[in-house]
Subunit: 291 residues, 2 copies
Amino acid sequence: MSLLLGFREYRSQSIALAEAAGLDYAEVDVHRFPDGESRIRLPADLPDGVVLCRSLDHPNDKLVELILAAGEARALGVQSLTLVAPYLCYMRQDRSFQPGEAVSQRIVGALLARYFDGLVTVDPHLHRVRDIEQAVPTGRSVSLLATTSVADFLARRLPDALLVGPDAESAQWVAAAASRAGLDFVIGNKVRHGDREVEIRLEGDFAGRDVVLVDDVASTGHTLEVAGGIIARAGPASISVVVTHALFADDAYERLERAGFEHIWSTDSIPHASNAISLAPLLAAQLRTSL
Amino acid sequence: MSLLLGFREYRSQSIALAEAAGLDYAEVDVHRFPDGESRIRLPADLPDGVVLCRSLDHPNDKLVELILAAGEARALGVQSLTLVAPYLCYMRQDRSFQPGEAVSQRIVGALLARYFDGLVTVDPHLHRVRDIEQAVPTGRSVSLLATTSVADFLARRLPDALLVGPDAESAQWVAAAASRAGLDFVIGNKVRHGDREVEIRLEGDFAGRDVVLVDDVASTGHTLEVAGGIIARAGPASISVVVTHALFADDAYERLERAGFEHIWSTDSIPHASNAISLAPLLAAQLRTSL
């Protein structure tokens, strides 16, 4: 019998996952001292197999605490330690864009692989690396697609929607969601100029349609804003947004709300006001087959 | 020839150390993305031997960035990587005070030892572990005493001072400083009740003397405040404080200032307004013998 250990900031999602997967739930006690150090306490009596569930947005504190928790779990005799990180950090820097830049995907991947025997994550932002096992070589690393969760949600909420993927990277993913939900879809073409500037080319028959922009992550929100602007000029019935990871930097969410999107939906990989789609069934199905 | 790589928040101290040790200096470029991830860039052309200098107060971000920097240094072919951390983090939790508590000293020590071939630190707060090599097993871990730096400073500034160590832990250290500076000293007895409450027993002939409280770290400042209160009732000429590590949580420094201490001095292990004693000569002497 396995135990799922959660963290306070992701409690309700972790409890939902434990219930769906038929696992007991307990919480890691985290105390931050005034000097910025963290004290971690686990239940002292742990089974051989433990799942640690923590989503790794704003990751640095969480990573250090995760290493402390994993180290203590080993000290308490845990044999098999699986990390469920619905949002996985440091996956975007997969090469040195400038000489001397740390390839954080490889370094953090190797670090996690030292502490965990398995990893389950959702829609990691992998570009040049196709396989999550290559990025985080635990031997049992699994990357799930939120496609089915998103498609089933959209089929219920907007059964005639036209899905739009803003760039070629999203093509395969949007196509799969559209296929499962029986919806039309369009793929745009994105050119990025620097950190915050994007140019998007997007053609489609948007007039009178309920258009839904679909992406894996909303960070600055610029891609979605630019794409939304192009679609708006074509006279759609409504424009909504659905993303897997509600990362939303700074005031990105408020800007998107003001930009006139009908709905802004996300999965609960990162706790946020836009969360509308639970990943618990998807993650639980994986845990039931792999534990 | 070795290179010392510093970080922005500890720049002037790192440059002083590089100069004193006869090393070239370059800086690690750290960029924090809006999503809380860090991008690290090193000079692309590194020698075989590199010293990374970063003091690890408020450590979690710094630790993750240090791992990224170390990982990239290895990728760039560095053979020998030494960490100079004048303030070393997570040394106080050296056992499970409650069942299930992560022994962060051991876990963080093992983590650092995976990335570095050597460590130099100053006055780490070790209790039950006597040897820094036991806590951070790099094979070349060295813990320096700030005693000589502090003693030489006090001998110049208050040549007739009476040194006071607030508890038995500080005895050996205060005795060494007093001996080197040719000063008298007194050791108190501290009993800690919980996180913020301390009781101190302290006897000495303080009347008319320039008393200097000496400790390794000022965190909440409660120990110093309580000891200062006891001494004040004995009618000293002045009461000052000198600590190695100016950790000062929350408003601790402001409280000490208001408590009427004549001087509050610290080494520059943690950048702070109270810094008065440079550790560069001490650290440089060690680097010159060990590199």
